[in-house]
Amino acid sequence: MDDLIQEFIAETRETLEALSGEIVAWEAHPEDRARLDAIFRFVHTVKGSCGFLDLPRLGRLSHAAEDVLAQVREGGRAPDRPLVNAVLAVVDRIGELVEAIDSGTSLPDHGDELLIAALAEGAEEIAQATLPGLQRAPARSVRLGVDLLDRMMSGMSDMVLARNELARRLRGGDIDPTIEAALERLSLTVGEMRDTVTRTRMQKIDALFSALPRMVRDTAAGLNKSVLLHIEGSDVELDREMIEMMRDPLVHIIRNSIDHGIEAPAERRAAGKRESGRLTVSARQSGNQIIIEIADDGRGIDTGKLIQKLVANGRDEARLRALSERGKLDLVFEPGLSSKDEVSEVSGRGVGMDIVRASIEQIGGRVDLDSQPGKGLRLAIHVPLTLSIISAIVVGVGNQRFAISRQAIEEIVTERSEAIRLDVLGGTPIATVRDRRMPLIDLSALLGIARQDKREGQMLAIVSVGEGSYALAVDTVLDNEELVIKPASPAVMTTGVYAGQTLPDSGLPMLMLDCAGMANVAGLDFNRSAHRDYEEEVVVEEAPGLPALMFCDLDGVRRAVPLAAVDRVEQVEGHSVRFAAGRFRVTIDGRILPLAAQGEIEGRDRLNVLRLKDGANEVSYAIDEALDIILLPEDIVPAREPGPIAGVALIDGEQVELLDILWVFDEHADRDADEVAPLCLIAGDKDGWMASFVRPLLETAGYRVVTQLPPGETPAVVLSADAAPAELAATAPVVRLRSRRAASGAGDDSVYRYDRAGLLSALEARMAGKGR
């Protein structure tokens, strides 16, 4: 919201500056139509923004001025001197108010009514009174054209090239160390500048998402619906221009979702859903694309109704009925269609999904629909990354280099590794990587490039393309670079194997490979084999041994951890590790994770960190370096005591300790009171004894404790001082506490209230009993 106000202030300020000349001119020639129109447009714009931004004072002023100017435009009133003065006074006041909003000061509002009254026909001429004590806040932002940014960007690239050229020439002869140092400094500055300039074009998608909560609220309120909005992935970065292009389609889709998708509360209740609809908007990067997903839990698309509507518009019914389900869904994109019976105020504005799709396709994107009648609609907008910066791996084939998006690469292995097998099935080459069989594409053969030398030792990049994976054989893997990928010319794109072009620091253009496109051109068909793959995998699971990652720990010992528990291995800077709140923690991706380690963490510039995940929890574990992926033998000698080591296994004749994942999670995972924790209701606690003494004990044991049952929830267990109310006893097991030490008889299953261990085990036993 603040962003919007800032934008409004900047815009109004700018228009006012431009308008000041017009105002003076209009004052001199009140009959000048063009000047009048300019001023009218200004107050009209201000009025429009005020309604949206909830600025009633500005709204009232601009509305009054707009009315009067409209009368003048229609010839109803003559622009006489008092009127001109009154309008100018209002325009001035608008400027003052905008400055006041910006600097956060308040402006006495007694003058407003006078100004508005002065606009009336026959009113007294007013004296221009500017209010004293107004300070203009220094502007902290400037508005720039994307053109200028583009020029800056290309100037920057030129600078990088010039630097490279200079470095190349200096390298030729003997150079003075001082010159070398100067060049070094230049390189550093140029590098930093380049990052900064590049970033000016990028913007977090948050810029697009931040206005959504308000819009969803207003739209839903206007329709008497209630909608819960959930936003994910706001920090995905996109090119500024792209964000602007996405704005209208996104707004339209969300409005449609609320208007047509999500049902009225009564209807939702009848369908057994929560009264408030759920709307999830998320952004993520996947390979060469950014995917923005809008999902609601509304009624989905009624294809039957769509067809009726189109038939009513004069389409051939039999042909529409004969379409596949997917084809029927795609009818939503037909022009001139509103899937709702009455056109509503919100989305019935003559802008259909056809326009939305066209504008997304214009920026090289596409829209996917997934509708589940009665359950909801999921709409995914895929837009290319081609304008954005992406992290890429540079590979070499023959004497050429290509970039591959890092997102698409699962791993890179060398052909010589023992875990790799290359075979030819019929005429088709395949690769077997650790018992996983996949098609093999030789990049040099695909592109018709002669390999530089025929020696063994190609590298295999395992590439994942959504439906499946394949191995891509390349000569060398060179580098890891952040590249600005731009669309290549049609003559290049028609080959189907390139995703775009880029100009890396070398100054020589480079092509980015389109992994899905290469699979297409090579004729790989993943759909056909999907089923068989699954069967194969089942067989693989029976193979002896569990895959594990072997690593060298901080204390120098070789250890292994089951691969399934490792989400990924990451390198972090030493300074992102802190001893905070009683333990070591590391900052990764803007989150704080507990950091476990065996050995000295501090005093390192960089750390390798294993990110371990068990579904809900995530713990990081600092290591020295990852070594290899191995298969754990069946025989593991268990450790003598419970601790970080589960046991030791013999791998290639060497004893390797096995990290105890359970212990690591138990010891290090942050405990948070989320909804997974069982709910314990304290009932009949008249004196507050249980709430004050038992509650802390229960909470450390991982229960959520309430004394009043929140609506819509059932307790997992009820703790009560005396017999629990019957309606509770029916829904949940009850544990009773007694204040006397001795049980009152054989049938008494209550627990003495100071018996901590007894209480916890009783709670657990009752809950388990209910589960059965």
Binding site: M156, P487, M493, T495, G496, P509
Partner: protein, 142 residues
């Protein structure tokens, strides 16, 4: 009406190029090959911070490829920049575009690109449309 034309040598002949189509004239440095692309695409070259698609004009005109051509005319077609290789550049001067004249039929390769003639000291020079030589844009070049 006189208009500014660039007179260049292309495949041994003089041609006139409308200066509105010409963004600049450069010498092309190292070219990155584009495997699998049309034979008319020589590759990609860096022109300051821009990447341009280098077009082998000889090949696009259906002639034998000119390996050593380095000089190129930069043009902008549908949002992309192209460098069209030429043999040499002669002159920039205002000329009047005249129709080809009755009965004159160009041979196939030139026919597509030819737009008329300009007259330099009595010598007729074929005026061409550069966009027609760009593969992927021109319908007949792929």
């Amino acid at each position: 009406m006189a208009h500014l034309y660039l007179i260049a040598q292309l495949a041994g002949r003089a041609v006139a190029i409308d200066s509105d189509q010409v963004e600049s004239v450069v010498d092309i440095g190292e070219v990155t090959q584009v495997p699998l692309a049309s034979q008319h695409v020589r590759g990609l070259a860096a022109l300051r911070s821009r990447v341009v698609t280098v077009v082998d004009t000889h090949s696009a005109l259906g002639l034998a490829s000119s390996e050593q051509a380095r000089r190129a005319v930069i043009t902008h077609v549908e949002g992309h920049h192209y460098a069209l290789l030429v043999d040499a550049l002669d002159d920039v001067a205002p000329f009047e575009l005249l129709p080809l004249g009755g009965g004159v039929t160009l041979d196939t390769a030139w026919q597509r690109a030819g737009r008329g003639i300009v007259e330099r000291d009595g010598e007729p020079i074929l005026a061409i449309d550069l966009a027609e030589l760009v593969p992927g844009y021109s319908a007949t070049l792929n």
